[in-house]
Symmetry: C2
Amino acid sequence: MNLKSVKKIAIIGVGFMGGSLALAMKRKFANISIWGYARSQKSYNKLKKLKILDKATLNLEKCVLNADIVILALPVEAVIACLEEIAPLLRKNSIVFDLGSTKKLIEKAALSYLPKEVSFVGCHPLCGSEKSGAEFARWDTYKNSICLIASSAKEKAAKIIEQFWKKLGSKVIFMSSGSHDELLSSISHFPHLISFSLIQLTPDNYLKFCSGSFKDLTRISSSPASIWADIFFSNKKNLINDIDGFVKVLSKFKEFLEKGNKRDVFNLIKKANTKHMSIK
Amino acid sequence: MNLKSVKKIAIIGVGFMGGSLALAMKRKFANISIWGYARSQKSYNKLKKLKILDKATLNLEKCVLNADIVILALPVEAVIACLEEIAPLLRKNSIVFDLGSTKKLIEKAALSYLPKEVSFVGCHPLCGSEKSGAEFARWDTYKNSICLIASSAKEKAAKIIEQFWKKLGSKVIFMSSGSHDELLSSISHFPHLISFSLIQLTPDNYLKFCSGSFKDLTRISSSPASIWADIFFSNKKNLINDIDGFVKVLSKFKEFLEKGNKRDVFNLIKKANTKHMSIK
C-alpha cells in the first residue's frame, strides 16, 4: 500500500481533532472517501449537518469495512477499548493509527489485539484547542504543527503515515513510545498536574485578585477531569517521577530560603531565565 | 494636607512603574510639579530626552526638598535602603509611599527610619509589564487596575493616597501588611517560584517541543533574578508555607496515582475545574 492507492479512510471519534483531520484530508486527498463513526443519533445528526465527512454512519462495522486507513481520534482509554472492538473488522494490510496523548499503553494494546496483517502506527499531533466538538474543527489545525510518531522511521507503515502528516503540513518526529511518554509527562501532563494543584491550594477569597502570572499558571486548570484523569493514569510512572523531581527542586528553594542563601536563590532563578530563552 | 494643596511630587525610581505614574499624574494633576531622581548621568539623559517629568535631577536632596508626596518606585530592598537615606531630607507633614511587592518589611523599615511628622503609606498596584524602563511607560498603566494599600482605611494619609489612586483610575483595597504578603505569596510570588522550578526540571532537549500549556506555565520564568531573589526573601515565611502546602497537594496526587484511585484523581481535577470558573 501507498498513499496514492488509498480509497477509504475511517475516523472513529469525530470531535475537534477527528473533525479537523476530516477537513484537512478533504483538501489534500481529493479522491479518498472519508467515513466517520457516530456513537449516537445525536452526534450522527450533528455530523450530517456539519458536512465534514463523505459518509457518517452509526454502524461501526460498516465504517471500518474495507478502509485502507482507520484513525482513532479518541482519548487514551477509549483508543484501547476501540482497538479490541475493531480488531476483527479490519481489512488485511490496512493501517490503524491513533492520536492519543500517551503511546506506551496504546502500543501494547495494539500489539495484543490487532491481527498480524494490520499495521499500527501510534501518532500524537502536538496541537489542539480548548474547545471540543466537531463544530469547532478547522482544516488548518495540523498545519505547521509537530506530529510525534511512536515508531522506528524504518517501518513501512510508519513511512506511509509520515507522508500523510507531511501532506497535511505537519512536521514529523519519530521516537519510541517510552521516550514519547517521558517527554509528554514533562512538557504537558505534569504542567497540567501543577496547574490543578496550584488552584487547589489557593484560598477561594484570593481568586478575585489574581494577577497575570496566576492566570497564566491556572489557565489549563479548566482542562476536563474526565480526559485528564485518564491521561494521568496512562502515564503514571513518568508523572510520579516528575512529581518527585519537582519536590526536590522546591526543597532546594526552601532550604536556600531558610538558610538565607540569597546567592543560591539568585542562581536558581538565573538558570531558569537562561533556559527560558531557548523556548521557541 | 489634602490632594488639592499638593504642589510637588518626587519620584525616586523612574522606570516603567515610576515613569507610568509620572505620565498619569501629568494628565490628572495639571498643577503639580513632578520631579524625578536619576541615579546616573545615563538615566538622567534618558529622562530628559523622554520628557516625562517636569524636572529630572541627579541630586536626591533637591529632588525630595519640599515635596508634599515622595513616591518610591523601587524594588523591596531598595525601598528599605532609600527610606533610611531620605528620612532626614523630608518635609514635615509630607507623605511617602512605595510600590514594593511585599509590605511587612517595608512597613517595619518606615516605622523605624521615618520621623514622626512624616506619614508612610505602603501601596502595591497589581499591574505591571514584562518590559522594564521608563521608555515603555504608559499613562494608562494604573487605569482599571487594583491598588492594595497596606493600612487601615481610617488613617488620614491613607485616605489622601486612596484619593490619589482613584484619580488615576485604580480600584483601592485596604488590608494589613501581613494579609497583603500572604495574598501576594499565593497569587504571585509562589507562582513565580513554580515557574522557575518547572523550567529547571525540564531537560534542555525537551524545550523545543514545548506545547501551549508548558509555555503558559513558564512564561514568567523570564522574570529577572535580581528582582525576584529579593522578593522571595522579603516574603520568605509565606513562601515556605506555600511550598509546604503545595508539596502536600502533590503528595496526594502521587498517593492516588500509586494506589490506582482514579475516582480521587478525577475529583481533585474536578475541584480545580470548578475553582477555575471563579477567576475573572
